[in-house]
Symmetry: D2
């Protein structure tokens, strides 16, 4: 499991005085940065290895400005060229949102999916979610 903590930014709230739903996918992307580095340790933008195919987020409770939040990140599925990430958003010891994101190992030149190589596959497996 990977953990990423951040303060809520004031501009991330909306007129309902809670965090805008639109913010979550940005937080989840930020919490995936260590996983991007499995594929490209130096975050090489000229050879970016991944593309996003789907995200799906459940909002369980309202998220507020204060206190800070934690995103927990696991790998939930590993396919041939795609894999799924499962993430939870916690605030004040309450699970407030959860979601999955499907990413595809992708070649931006040929615009084709590519098999995830074994070295990266082993890194992903280390963060596989366990049955609970």
């Amino acid at each position: 499991m990977l953990s990423c903590q951040f303060d809520v930014r004031f501009y991330e709230t909306d007129a309902l005085q809670h965090v805008s739903n639109t913010v979550l996918v940005g937080w989840f992307e930020t919490a995936r940065l260590p996983i991007f580095r499995f594929f490209t340790p130096d975050l090489d933008l000229q050879n970016w290895p991944l593309i996003l195919a789907n995200y799906n987020v459940d909002f369980l409770e309202q998220i507020y400005l204060d206190p800070g939040v934690e995103v927990k990140t696991w790998i939930s599925k590993i396919g041939n060229s795609s894999f799924e990430i499962y993430q939870e958003l916690w605030q004040s010891n309450v699970k407030k949102a959860k979601g999955t994101t499907t990413l595809v190992r992708f070649d931006y030149q040929s615009k084709k999916a590519v098999r995830i190589d074994d070295t990266v596959r082993d890194l992903l497996k280390m963060h596989l979610i366990h049955e609970e």
Copy 2:
């Protein structure tokens, strides 16, 4: 069907020189504004009638800075207190993303779901997606 068109904003692109996936939920929210008005014609923030329970977006093709995009919006399901919206993102006559959002008629004071009243229900039905 409701249609909403906008220019892509430069800051909505990312370092992969396409539109960031994080932008779509904001565009979809903006295209739902006429539906918010079914529930609160004057967008009264002190009595906001809706809360978001889930969104799920499929990314089919990369979206670019230019030309502008269109979001098409339909109602796809109507329940007792919740309903589902189905949206498509089009650019250059290509369907580039599609997604559903589940909204709940909500009382922010009591933090409880509320039945969708019949007047609003009839307005929602006018935008129900047809079998195609």
Copy 3:
């Protein structure tokens, strides 16, 4: 003068139930898109011609979710390689913010400022603000 109108997006509000100050620079950038096209008609990202050196925004009145807003854009100064844009944000016939942005004609390969060529200079002059 160039005019650009848009609806306020719900996520652009913040917990003070007005538009977040952080949104203005994005709106102003969006309203400058026609000026970007003076330099690169097809918005060619591989040869982007401009870089931003400064922005300065005065907030005169609170901006709200509804009704929509208008950004008015003029050229206020033209130098050798840089020029200044003056913009106003109007809502409900009230000028709610105004700002200047300094852009520089820039070569991203050599990381050097470049003289604004005469053809573009003439286009910029057509939008010079007049004494009022």
Copy 4:
């Protein structure tokens, strides 16, 4: 001096493969959160004490996705009801941007500026920038 560090978020880059200029004012706002707490320790949204009157940012060098950045924050002027904050953005030991923000002690009910009280004034003075 207050210091705030964060990773650059992928969605904060733009198609020029650097950080979008529009992001800076959000980072600067986030770095001001401890100053907001001088006025309202529990960040009480029902009695928010401040409004933003102006921001002015100079962009000195391009900011990139990696490595993380630091925002340094000082108080640069204290008036009767307003004060000015001076901030710098550092990445890889290079000062890449700097800016000032003018905030006003404000009563949102009466829409009037209010004198900064002495207790808060003393807290602000502790972060006054020194001649260098």
